[in-house]
C-alpha cells in the first residue's frame, strides 16, 4: 500500500493522512494508492501539513507499517529513548521498527 506522511506545520509532529485528516499514529494511515501526490499538494497549499511525501507501506493486522526503516523510526520515535516514543509505557511497542 501507499501512505502519505509529513509534519504538522506548527508543531512539527510527524503526521499520517487518514483519508480525511491527519493523525499522529501510523495505524490510522489510509491507502492513498495513486492519489497521494495530489492530496499532498492540496494539503500543503492549505498549510495543514508541511513537506508531505508518499511512501510504501505493508498492510498488517496492527495497521500500516512503513517499508523503510527511516519512516518506521519516524512513526514511533527514537529507538534509543523508549520514554520519548508515542508508546512510552509499552516496551514491546518498537518490536516492528528495527
Amino acid at each position: 500500500m501507499r501512505i502519505l506522511t509529513g509534519n504538522d506545520l506548527k508543531s512539527g509532529d510527524v503526521v499520517w493522512w487518514t483519508g480525511s485528516d491527519w493523525s499522529r499514529h501510523v495505524e490510522d494511515a489510509a491507502d492513498v494508492s495513486e492519489r497521494g501526490e495530489a492530496i499532498a499538494r492540496e494539503e500543503e497549499a492549505a498549510r495543514r501539513v508541511n513537506v508531505p511525501y508518499v511512501i510504501d507501506a505493508a498492510a498488517t493486522p496492527e495497521g500500516p507499517r512503513p517499508a523503510h526503516i527511516k519512516d518506521r523510526i519516524r512513526a514511533l520515535g527514537p529507538t534509543v529513548r523508549a520514554d520519548l516514543t508515542l508508546r512510552p509505557a509499552d516496551p514491546a511497542a518498537g518490536s516492528w521498527v528495527i
Binding site: L9, K10, G12, D13, I69, R74, P78, V80, L84
Partner: protein, 543 residues
C-alpha cells in the same frame, strides 16, 4: 568572557523580531516552505525526523553559568528535558515547535545567546580550542580573534547565500584541539617578530569528499585579517561551484584550481579589498580582548591533591589536564557514560554543571568538539568536591579520549539525512569495552561515528571511524582506521567491506587485540596502525 554592549544586544533583539515576523509570514502562507527554509536555517531551525530541531550557538564553545541555566530552562520548558551538545560546540534541541521558536530565541537573547547562522549556506559559528585561556601551550587566547570574526560574520550582507555552508576555526596552540585543518578556513595564531598573526589554511572539511586544508598564507597581520578573509570568501562566493551541491564546498574549488592558484586569486582580491578600509582599528580588538583577560587567579595555592580515593584518582588521571596557572587544573566532564547517548545532557545535569562552573570555575564552562564539557579554571584543592558532585549527577565517567569517549552524530534516531543509526552502535561499542581497566590499557583511541556521508560525527578524523550506510534498506557500517583531527591531522582509510552492527563491534575488538599484541612502547592505536599499515589489520578483521 565577552559581554554584549547595547549594540550587540540590539542586533540580537532585532534578529528575534525579524524571525518572529518571518514565522508569522510562514504560518499565514505568505512564505512557502521553500522560501522559508533558508530563513529558518539561518536561525538554526531544521525540520528533522520527529519535529523541528533548534541549534543554539555557543560561540567558540564558551559560555557562563547564567547561559547554561538558560539552556537547561529551554530544555525543560520547550523541549523534552534534555539537549544534545554537538561537534560544532553548539547545543541542539530535538522537539521544538515552530510556533515556540521566536519565544525561545527571545529568552536566549536575555542571556546574550542566539541561534544566528548555526545553519544555512553562510558563515557558521566560529569554533575554537576548549582550553583557550587555560592551556599552557597557547601563544595567546584565540577567543578575542574568534569573537571578532563572530561579529564580522554576523549578518554579512555579501556572504549569506554562499554556494554552501562555511566553517571557520581559530586556534593558538601547537596542539590542535579543534580539528582546525578540517574546516573551510582554519586559522592558527602564531607569533612572528613579537607580533601575532594568522596562519591561514583554506579548503579543509569532512563530508563526502574529505580534505585537509592546505596552507594559503603563512602570516596575516591582525590589522589585515578581515580584509584577507573577505577576499577568501569573495573568491569562493564568485567561483565556488553552484551546479552541484555535493561539489559546492570551498574545498572542491581549492582542490580543482589548486591551492596556489586559489591563493593567487585571494592575494589579488586582497590587494583590492585592503584599500576599502573595512579592517578594525586596534582599539576595537583591544576592547574585545579585554573581556578575555585572565580571571583573578589566586596565588600561593597548594599543588597537592589527595589521591586516597581510588575512583577519584582514576578520574583525575584521565579527565583533568594541566593549567597554566599554578594551583589550578582543567576539568573535562565526560558526556559519554557507558551505554548513554554521546553528547546528551538532561536539564538537571546542565544545571549541575552551571552550578559547578559558578562555584569552582569563575562562572565559566566550555563545550568541546568531542561533545564534552570543560570547567576551565578549577583550583586543585577543589577537584575532589567537583568530582563528588559530578559523580552524584552521573557525570564523572573517567574516559576522556578513551575508546568509550565516542563522538557520534544523532544518526537515524533523530536526523532526516541519516542512513543508519549512530547512537545504538556507540552504546554497543562502549558496552563491549566497558571495563575501565581495559579502556585505559588501550589508551588514547578516538572513535567517531557518522550516520551518513555528511560526516557530522567526524568519522574521517577518527583513529577508528565508522560510517553508517543504507544497504538495500538495512543499516550497514563501514570501518576506517588512521584518521586524526589533531595536529597529526590525517584522513581515515576504509578497511574493506562493511558490517552489520554486531559485526563492526567484533571487528573493532579484533583490531584492538592486534594493536595490543603488536604495539611498541608509547604507541597509541593510531601510531601502531600508521607503522604497520592496513594489511595486518585487514587480516585480523576479515581473516
Amino acid at each position: 568572557m565577552y559581554k554584549y554592549d547595547t549594540y550587540d544586544q540590539a542586533a540580537v533583539d532585532a534578529r528575534v523580531a525579524e524571525f518572529r515576523d518571518q514565522v508569522e509570514r510562514r504560518l499565514s502562507g505568505a512564505l512557502s516552505e521553500d522560501q522559508f527554509k533558508p530563513l529558518r536555517l539561518m536561525n538554526g531551525l531544521y525540520l528533522q525526523l520527529h519535529a523541528y530541531m533548534l541549534r543554539v550557538a555557543i560561540p567558540y564553545g564558551t559560555l557562563d553559568s547564567r547561559q547554561m541555566r538558560m539552556l537547561a530552562h529551554v530544555a525543560r520548558t520547550y523541549d523534552r528535558g534534555y539537549g544534545h551538545f554537538t561537534t560544532r560546540q553548539n547545543i541542539q534541541y530535538n522537539w521544538i515547535k515552530l510556533e515556540d521558536a521566536p519565544d525561545i530565541l527571545a529568552e536566549l537573547a536575555t542571556v546574550e545567546m542566539h541561534a544566528i547562522q548555526t545553519s544555512g549556506n553562510c558563515i557558521r559559528n566560529i569554533s575554537s580550542d576548549q582550553y583557550a585561556g587555560a592551556a599552557a601551550d597557547e601563544v595567546t587566547d584565540p577567543r578575542p580573534w574568534a569573537e571578532l570574526l563572530r561579529q564580522w560574520s554576523s549578518f554579512h550582507p555579501e556572504f549569506s547565500y554562499l554556494p554552501r555552508k562555511f566553517k571557520i576555526a581559530v586556534i593558538a596552540a601547537g596542539e590542535d584541539r579543534a580539528a582546525m585543518r578540517l574546516h573551510d578556513i582554519g586559522i592558527e595564531i602564531v607569533e612572528r617578530d613579537g607580533q601575532h598573526g594568522a596562519r591561514v589554511f583554506v579548503g579543509g572539511g569532512m563530508g563526502r569528499t574529505p580534505m585537509i586544508a592546505p596552507e594559503i598564507r603563512d602570516f596575516v597581520p591582525l590589522a589585515d585579517l578581515l580584509s584577507y578573509l573577505e577576499a577568501c570568501l569573495r573568491v569562493y562566493n564568485r567561483y565556488g561551484r553552484r551546479d552541484n551541491m555535493y561539489k559546492a564546498r570551498i574545498k572542491i574549488l581549492v582542490h580543482e584550481i589548486g591551492a596556489a592558484d586559489y591563493a593567487r586569486q585571494v592575494e589579488e582580491e586582497f590587494a583590492h579589498v585592503k584599500a576599502l578600509g573595512i579592517d578594525l582599528p586596534a582599539a576595537e580588538f583591544e576592547r574585545i580582548a579585554a573581556f578575555f583577560a585572565p580571571p583573578a587567579f589566586e596565588t600561593g595555592l597548594s599543588e597537592t591533591i589527595d589521591r586516597s580515593d581510588p575512583d577519584f584518582a582514576l578520574w583525575l588521571d584521565q579527565n583533568v589536564k594541566p593549567h597554566k596557572a599554578p594551583g589550578y587544573a582543567i576539568v573535562n566532564i565526560s558526556l559519554k557514560p557507558v551505554g548513554g547517548i554521546p553528547g546528551d545532557a538532561s536539564a538537571e545535569q546542565i544545571d549541575v554543571m552551571a552550578d559547578l562552573a559558578e562555584r569552582y570555575s569563575f562562572g565559566e564552562a566550555r563545550v568541546t568538539h568531542a561533545q564534552n564539557i570543560v570547567l576551565p579554571h578549577v583550583r586543585k584543592a577543589d577537584l575532589y568536591a567537583v568530582w563528588q558532585a559530578l559523580a552524584e549527577a552521573g557525570l564523572a565517567e573517567a574516559n576522556l579520549d578513551l575508546i568509550s569517549d565516542i563522538i557520534a552524530c544523532p544518526g537515524l534516531d533523530y536526523c532526516s539525512l541519516a542512513n543508519a543509526r549512530s547512537i545504538p552502535l556507540a552504546q554497543k561499542i562502549a558496552t563491549r569495552f566497558a571495563d575501565p581497566a581495559r579502556q585505559r590499557e588501550l589508551g588514547e583511541l578516538k572513535l567517531k561515528i557518522s550516520g551518513c556521508i555528511n560526516a557530522c560525527g567526524h568519522h574521517h578524523a577518527g583513529h577508528i571511524g565508522i560510517l553508517g550506510v543504507d544497504k538495500k534498506g538495512t543499516e550497514n557500517y563501514q570501518l576506517s582506521f588512521g584518521g586524526s583531527g589533531a595536529e597529526d591531522v590525517s584522513l581515515g582509510k576504509i578497511t574493506g567491506p562493511g558490517f552489520d552492527e554486531d559485526g563492526v563491534v567484533d571487528a573493532i575488538e579484533r583490531a584492538t587485540d592486534l594493536y595490543l599484541a603488536r604495539r611498541e612502547a608509547g604507541e597509541r592505536f593510531v601510531d601502531t596502525y600508521r607503522r604497520l599499515g592496513m594489511e595486518p589489520f585487514k587480516e585480523a578483521i576479515y581473516g
